[in-house]
């Protein structure tokens, strides 16, 4: 139960740092995540807007260990219209602990200034345990801010993984202003978590 709970927690928090996986050409992004189970710092650099490479340092508070992931994210498809943008990404990560510790998957989103819909599929291999994760996310902006204003998103995320085969649904609040973005999520299994992102 404990290990399963921990794995669920890891999967839960890992999914949150998939947002904004690629920056502008030559841009960098720093992401930090923290909760009772894990502290994570993820830095990525985008040579072009098509892909990013990065490294994620993870401190696992439950297992009392640390690991690093080399990560690659590729923008497979993007459609820009006057009022919307749609994206499809491929993501992968390989741990420095060895070839048996990695993940890969896809995620996509469609958003306007008012609405957001996103999904993700991820396969994770950690030591000798393999599992999959999937999620759907919906969001609405309660107001439309101008450039430079504080922007707010009210979101709902629902996810499932192959370990317990149950859907878990929880609210997410997202705020961003300027180069900073902060996101809070609450899940009755993992309690509060926070995600901060800064784009250089």
């Amino acid at each position: 139960m404990g290990i399963k709970f921990t794995i669920l927690a890891i999967l839960f928090v890992s999914s949150n740092i998939d947002a904004r996986p690629i920056s502008y050409s030559g841009g960098s992004t720093l992401m930090m995540f923290s909760d009772s189970m894990k502290d994570s710092v993820y830095y990525h650099y985008s040579p072009t807007y098509k892909y990013s490479v990065g490294i994620e340092q993870v401190k696992n508070n439950y297992f009392k260990d640390s690991s690093s992931y080399l990560r690659l994210t590729y923008l497979a498809n993007r459609k820009n219209t006057q009022n919307s943008q749609r994206n499809l990404y491929f993501q992968s990560g390989l741990s420095t602990n060895g070839v048996d510790d990695y993940f890969y998957g896809i995620h996509g989103d469609w958003e306007t200034r008012r609405w957001f819909v996103g999904f993700g599929l991820k396969e994770v291999k950690k030591e000798k345990v393999g599992f999959s994760q999937q999620h759907l996310q919906f969001g609405v902006a309660p107001y439309l801010g101008e450039y430079g204003d504080l922007h707010t998103w009210l979101m709902v995320k629902t996810k499932k993984n192959s370990l317990n085969n149950d859907w878990s649904t929880y609210p997410v609040l997202k705020f961003f202003k300027g180069n900073s973005l902060i996101e809070f999520g609450y899940n009755n299994k993992t309690e509060w978590d926070a995600h901060y992102m800064y784009r250089f």
Partner: protein
């Protein structure tokens, strides 16, 4: 899994069916004008300049002997996503000032008068942020 699989299938089909690559520009509404003495409430070569008047007036306040490129951009749906556009243009030393009008999907870029504003260069800068510039009007201040 079925729900996600169905969603993924629909999403992928939508992506594949869409034959408009983001790398391809829509030139249908591209304009390149250079006339002096026009502000936001006036026409630029007979075409209405669609910008947020308050934002535009604020942008040009303090500008003299300048020209403003009003660039139409597709895919600029969020503030955080548009930050890269500002950063990219700020690296160009010819740029005096830049702002983004999210509501109208415009990027305002001020240059000194006399500088040749190249739309292809503008398009490259916008594309470096993953969005598409589809048109440009130039207003002299």
């Amino acid at each position: 899994m079925k729900l996600i699989g169905t969603f993924l299938f629909l999403f992928s089909s939508w992506a594949i069916a869409s034959d408009h690559s983001h790398d391809h520009m829509d030139h249908s509404d591209m304009m390149h004008h250079s006339h002096e003495g026009h502000l936001h409430e006036k026409l630029v070569d007979g075409e209405k300049l669609i910008v947020n008047p308050e934002k535009f007036d604020k942008f040009i306040s303090g500008l003299t002997n300048a020209q403003v490129a009003v660039v139409s951009v597709k895919g600029m749906v969020c503030d955080f996503c548009a930050r890269g556009i500002e950063k990219t243009f700020q690296k160009d030393k010819r740029v005096k000032k830049i702002d983004v009008d999210l509501g109208q999907g415009k990027v305002l870029v001020a240059f000194d008068k006399g500088i040749d504003i190249n739309f292809e260069d503008i398009k490259k800068k916008i594309l470096a942020n993953g969005q598409n510039a589809t048109g440009m009007q130039i207003v002299s201040i």
